[in-house]
């Protein structure tokens, strides 16, 4: 039989508009709101399209309010899109068929599904029943997962007494017991200490590798995504800004490199000389920093060596972290700012 290939997740033109009520300031505004309300339409997700293949681990990166969580909620059936289509494992998520629900898991880093006043084991047992996991499999999986995440000894501790990191790990175990084919993770490392963050990342990488689980993860830590995902989708103000390999982000958005030069003595080269190489970012006696377009870096360095008594020269690649931070800064302050090193252009 020849079945046509179908990606695990397929999203086409997904848009989600929220209607928010705009209250005028003060008591008068509140009173006016009783009779006549003004609503404002905001698109949390705006014409988003992408596909994810089986076993891929894709990172959603973007500032707060960019639409990451909304997208995950739509894909798990918690929200209806205003328009557009999506299919996950061949199901339309918002129909919420039982068959679909058996095959995926959604983990929201800010919400907990574990019973607060009971040991985590009870919540795991409950999930075991809900998903109808045979006893033997259940025990084996709990054993395996608690081992990998190093929380074996926390199973019988009241959830409210666990640290945030321990709780998150157990939440993760609860979400994975039924071996979902698709895993949606919303900020899985938020608020965790550095060591727990690393454990969770390593665990997810290992789990993705061994189980071929398709993972879609949002985070505003670039480190999460660098550690886990080969592919990243950068989303900003509801639209996809970039979709591709992580290493391509640098090529794409960092059109320049930073050249830092230390000179012998405390020479001060004339500014107009430096301007011919690139933009001067800073200059003190015996030291200057330039922003140089990528394709000119070699030529510029050669010219600097010829022209000045160079003691040290350093060429820096702009990191993904920097790019994203700058992108987020810009999102917070659309009037500009921070655009000195980067050149952003909308992908679509």
């Amino acid at each position: 039989m020849n079945t046509p290939h179908r990606p695990t997740i397929q999203v086409q033109g997904l848009t989600r508009v929220f209607r928010t009520y705009k209250k005028k300031p003060g008591v008068l505004g509140a009173l006016r709101g009783v009779f006549h309300r003004e609503y404002e339409q905001t698109a949390a997700v705006n014409d988003v399209s992408f596909t994810v293949e089986e076993g891929e681990c894709v990172g959603f990166l973007g500032p707060n309010g960019a639409g990451k969580t909304t997208t995950l909620k739509i894909l798990s059936g918690l929200l209806h899109p205003s328009s557009g289509s999506a299919s996950v494992l061949g199901y339309t998520p918002w129909n919420r068929l039982i068959e679909f629900r058996r095959q995926f898991a959604l983990l929201l880093g800010q919400k907990n599904q574990l019973w607060w006043d009971l040991p985590a084991r009870e919540s795991l047992e409950l999930n075991g029943r809900i998903y109808g996991i045979p006893r033997g499999d259940f025990d084996r999986r709990v054993c395996y997962l608690t081992e990998l995440l190093r929380v074996r000894d926390k199973l019988d501790v009241m959830v409210r007494e666990l640290s945030l990191g321990e709780r998150m790990k157990l939440e993760l175990i609860a979400a994975l017991l039924h071996q979902p084919k698709v895993l949606f993770l919303d900020e899985p490392t938020i608020g965790l200490d550095v060591i727990s963050q690393r454990t969770v990342r390593e665990f997810l990488r290992e789990y993705n590798r061994t189980h071929r689980t398709t993972i879609l993860l949002t985070s505003h830590y670039v480190a999460d995504i660098e550690a886990l995902c080969r592919r990243v989708i950068i989303i900003d103000r509801g639209s996809i800004f970039f979709d591709g390999k992580l290493e391509e982000v640098v090529d794409r958005f960092a059109r320049s490199k930073i050249v830092t030069v230390e000179l012998e003595g405390s020479l001060v080269p004339p500014a107009e000389d430096l301007e011919t190489f690139g933009r001067v970012l800073e200059q003190t006696p015996g030291h200057f920093r330039l922003k140089v377009p990528r394709q000119r870096v070699v030529a510029v360095c050669k010219a600097i060596f010829e022209k000045f008594p160079v003691a040290d020269l350093d060429i820096e690649e702009i990191s993904v972290e920097d790019i994203v931070r700058n992108l987020f800064l810009r999102a917070d302050n659309p009037q500009g700012g921070g655009d000195t090193i980067f050149s952003f252009r909308r992908a679509a």
């Binding site: 909620k73 929200l79 209806h80 039982i98 898991a105 919400k111 006043d117 029943r129």
Partner: protein, 266 residues
């Protein structure tokens, strides 16, 4: 089924943390009851004979049974919890997992009833023991069986009423007003405050068409042998019909609520 059993189990463990709360509640529920009993004693002292077919002993045994039925069937924390789960988005985890929220809450409700009944045993038991001469035996075997059946149905009925009120949390920010309206209706129309058959008969009959008498008055009347034969069968049918209707309504409202939740909210 094993899922339901496990939810019941978890609910038991979790609700046990409310035991002191429940105990206190059962204890302080006795105070208005004492006042009512005192009131009836005063009323009967001024006259000989009965009030609408109740002699004093029957009147007091009526209230004893109301107390017992109430502690076994009435909703305690469920409505607030459901409303909170809707408001803070906790219901999301039920929409993404293969589990039915209504059934889940029903299992929890039953574990809550067991814990509450246990917590109420001492205060209510002492109260009943104090008035033990008034605690009559049920009429006959049929009455016992019908009472137990009706008791179970009245628990489900009260749960469904509270569940429906809690569903309002999909649309309004604060459900407490509605909870108190429901409580007031239940207080008066369920027979909790007075036996419904002391009302003028046209009013009593009208009230019997609402779901409220089936929360308390109906099972108590079965126990006391006030209702039997054809009236008993008719009452049980009405009780079942109310359970079925409210169940269907609960389903419908839940679906509607989810629609607002997933389409409008987020």
């Amino acid at each position: 089924m094993t899922t339901c059993w496990h939810i019941f189990n978890i609910g038991l463990q979790n609700t046990l943390s409310y035991r002191v709360n429940f105990f206190a509640r059962a204890l302080f529920n006795l105070i208005p009851l004492l006042a009512i009993v005192a009131m009836w004693r005063a009323i009967y002292a001024g006259k000989s004979g009965d009030v609408s077919g109740y002699i004093l002993a029957q009147m007091i045994s009526y209230y004893l049974l109301v107390t017992i039925v109430e502690s076994m069937t009435s909703v305690t924390e469920d409505d607030w919890q459901i409303a909170a789960e809707i408001k803070d988005g906790h219901i999301g985890q039920f929409l993404t997992r293969p589990i039915d929220y209504l059934h889940y809450r029903l299992c929890l409700f039953f574990s809550g009833r067991v814990v509450y009944t246990l917590a109420a045993t001492i205060p209510v038991g002492l109260f009943v023991y104090w008035h033990r001469e008034y605690l009559v035996r049920p009429h006959d075997g049929v009455a016992i069986a019908a009472f137990i059946l009706s008791l179970a149905l009245s628990a489900v009925l009260q749960f469904l009423l509270s569940y429906l009120i809690a569903m309002l949390a999909f649309w309004v920010l604060e459900i407490s007003t509605f909870v108190f309206i429901l409580l007031a209706c239940e207080r008066i129309a369920s027979g909790q405050m007075f036996p419904l058959d002391i009302l003028p008969s046209w009013l009593a009959q009208a009230v019997m068409w609402t779901p409220f008498p089936y929360c308390i008055f109906f099972p108590v009347s079965i126990y006391l042998g006030k209702i039997s034969g054809a009236a008993l069968v008719q009452g049980l049918i009405l009780q079942v019909l109310w359970v079925a209707t409210l169940y269907a309504l609960a389903r419908l409202v839940w679906r509607r609520g989810l629609k607002t939740y997933t389409v409008v909210g987020g």
